[in-house]
Symmetry: C2
Subunit: 198 residues, 2 copies
């Protein structure tokens, strides 16, 4: 059964292609034919692995998240000081560099699609939960170490993540008043207030 690997490999190709296309032209404009072309295959093959466009996109959104999380595993599992870990985490989400920007684009498309799709809301909930837990854990570590301000870690985490999402959107929109550098400055300022300077 050497062919079992073909399925996984081909699916991965197609999902990566789907994410690239979504990031470049948006979900609304995406055609199965675009994905097939990008994946170097035919529309028939795309449909062989994913019954409907909706199935394909759900899988692609899921895959996009797994990839993003994978890229950050190192930071989250690092044993650096809480301050550094939180700084690294925030830095890694700044919409800079092709991979990060593309992942943000896909993520933004998911949000809007999810407004009218309970299954995607579920995916968002799961993913957002992972973020929140990861950030809250760092914050609790920092509080235990006396490095961070006291207060409800979950509220801090929600505020920080929300801010990152909102600012990233503006950066992605090419705002002249909110560039990645300016976003970095805002985030650093917020972290500064949050860190206790003994």
């Amino acid at each position: 059964m050497a062919r079992a690997s073909v399925e996984a490999e081909r699916k991965e190709q197609i999902l990566a292609a789907a994410c690239e296309v979504v990031s470049e032209i948006g979900f609304k404009s995406l055609r199965i034919a675009d994905v097939a072309k990008r994946a170097g295959t035919s529309t028939g093959t795309v449909h062989y692995y994913f019954d409907t466009k909706r199935d394909l996109m759900h899988a692609a959104f899921d895959w996009n998240f797994e990839q993003s999380m994978g890229r950050r595993r190192e930071i989250l599992e690092s044993d650096a000081a809480p301050r550094q870990r939180l700084r690294d985490f925030v830095e890694s989400y700044l919409p800079e560099g092709d991979a990060t920007i593309a992942a943000w684009h896909v993520w933004a498309e998911l949000w809007v699609e999810a407004l009218h799709d309970p299954d995607l809301q579920e995916l968002n909930e799961r993913v957002y939960g992972e973020w929140r837990r990861a950030v809250a854990a760092i914050i609790r570590d920092g509080q235990d170490a006396g490095e961070f301000r006291d207060g409800d870690a979950v509220i801090f985490a929600n505020g920080l993540i929300g801010m990152i999402d909102g600012l990233s959107l503006q950066v992605l929109l090419g705002s002249r008043s909110m560039t990645a550098d300016r976003m970095r400055a805002v985030c650093e300022q917020v972290l500064e207030w949050f860190f206790l300077t003994p």
Copy 2:
């Protein structure tokens, strides 16, 4: 030329209908026929006033913003204390109540559409600029009155607005962990840190 008023009135009907439909089913699923039906007219009439779907949606996004701003004029121009004005402003953006939620939906659709449409990016830039100026002005008032923490008012404004955007998205997505009430709590906490308690 009594008929000049017809144009404005009909356009308004159509734009309002377009926003309702976008908010209910999303831009991607919106059909001109849906808008026509909602406005109580025909597809022909919609096309009589708006050449293309794109024209219609741009005008609708614009209209949605004007309406939102209109609903907040009272707060922004109030002569209440800066603390109260900032609280009222934040409160008015919580995704609660049909009108506010619908406006947020439309706004979210604009964001994603704008990722691939420079004209809409321009609209976002204009609108976001107005927000930022309004909030920064309140913050400066508060700082001058010695009620708010010192620091760059623009950075504060950007951070606060970004956070509101990001949190609102999660609320709109029906997140169990981010309800309007929880968002209110996060915002209040942030404002609390920001206000000086003499």
